[in-house]
Symmetry: C2
Subunit: 269 residues, 2 copies
């Protein structure tokens, strides 16, 4: 008998949070093949009925009821989903009721309530544009506006981390590559020197770097293990001599790099 199960992530908004949470829960169960389906913007009774049809259809095909992770604020919509033949794990139901008890007031049960104010949103978008303009050593103008400046060898994860810091947390992040010229001079790029307290280093194990670079430029000197080893050694020596903190990113994701940097620098999310 197949162990295949279908899991739905259902939200009246984007579904990003419930999908992340649901995937992380399911990853705790080995040996079961989960067919994962996200249904965002389920914000009307009609869409809820159509979701129920899909849920019941999947149960028929799998020969087992589906698992539904949901975050549905409006009771009427939630009630429709409850009619399906599935295990329903609803974030709001699980948490809003104990919160109402604790706080002694009713929740507003307001769908589409903005999660952030307009001002904060504009700041995040400004931060994204800043990160784009100050990616890979581009535009020295306004470099002093950066809250953090990442350095490291090419493909050590500086760009994705800068963009993630901007998009997720509204942090003004610039990044600068360390290149052979810096190693010869045994000195940081001149633009960075007055901003040293903001500089954070990323480093990576040579084997992993060679693998990443080879995907882009197979069989190149750039991607060779020997060259990667040399560049990393020189970059680490440079960072060490300039007292720049270093984070080894070999086994961690961009989300973890970004969060670790915030944590270490004390920058506010």
């Amino acid at each position: 008998m197949s162990r295949r199960r279908t899991a739905f992530f259902i939200s009246d908004r984007t579904g990003i949070t419930v999908e992340k949470l649901g995937r992380s829960m399911l990853s705790q169960f080995d040996g079961i093949e989960f067919n994962q389906v996200t249904l965002p913007f389920v914000d009307s009774i009609e869409k809820a009925h159509s979701a129920v049809n899909r849920i019941n259809q999947a149960a028929m095909e799998d020969g087992r009821r589906a698992i539904v992770f949901s975050t549905l604020i409006v009771a009427d919509i939630h009630n429709v989903i409850e009619e399906s033949d599935a295990l329903i794990l609803d974030l709001f139901e699980s948490f809003i009721v104990p919160l109402e008890d604790e706080l002694g007031i009713q929740s507003s049960h307001a769908v589409g309530r903005p999660h952030e104010t307009g001002i904060h949103y504009n700041e995040r978008m400004d931060a994204v544009n800043y990160a784009l303009n100050h990616d890979d050593g581009g535009i020295s103008r306004e470099l002093e506006r950066a809250q953090i400046i990442l350095v490291g060898v090419s493909r050590s994860g500086k760009s994705p981390t800068s963009l993630y810091l901007a998009l997720q947390f509204g942090i003004f992040a610039a990044n600068y590559p360390l290149v052979p010229e810096d190693f010869e001079n045994k000195s940081l790029p001149a633009a960075l020197k007055p901003l040293l307290p903001k500089v954070q280093g990323l480093t990576i194990q040579p084997e992993r770097l060679a693998q990443i670079r080879a995907e882009r430029m197979p069989n190149s000197r750039y991607a060779s293990l020997e060259n990667c080893r040399k560049e990393i050694q020189q970059a680490e020596a440079l960072m060490l001599s300039a007292n720049i903190p270093m984070l080894d990113v070999t086994t961690i994701s961009v989300e973890e790099i970004a969060t670790t940097l915030l944590h270490q620098t004390g920058l506010k999310r």
Copy 2:
């Protein structure tokens, strides 16, 4: 009496999911000022004890117990947090137990379990580099590799949306500005014509665009309401004549724009 309460978001990993979920829950309660604190990487008994100290300290200062949203997989760490004087809402406890019952197997309770495979992670990073290289009409080479190409006037949200699609979903996204030259020619940029089925338009209300542009270049012609109105009118006419679907982004966040586009195009997350 002050209604101030402290809420903690505690995770053994980055805390991003639990923070998002917690903030969204708290936003359902009007009239209470929440002091919100994220404690990521609580992955040892020592760190758990130090978190408990902070939780109890906050309760003393507020004169009410704190609220803790947590996602702690390791039972020993979770148990330490349970000793605090707080309302604990734990994601794993609320969902893992019913899942174990439903699936008939034990969860692995493994901390730091990667949420995605290495291959998927590499794809996301490739997508970020692609979005960086194909931002704002940069590099036409490999444009056909794009899964989606966003067009719209300057500052309509194309860049943040492309980057979010890449970072969050591993989608290869390019973006192209629509500029006065295109309007004069009454024609899309030549590079886009063979790729029309991948093109999606963003549009925005002139008042909002003028506001966004004024933050960057106050009192400029670029930011004037008159100019914004004209550009948007011309851009919409061009998109309409080329049969490009248009999304009005005036009141929605970059997360919502990205999710809506995926939903409309059927691109897989």
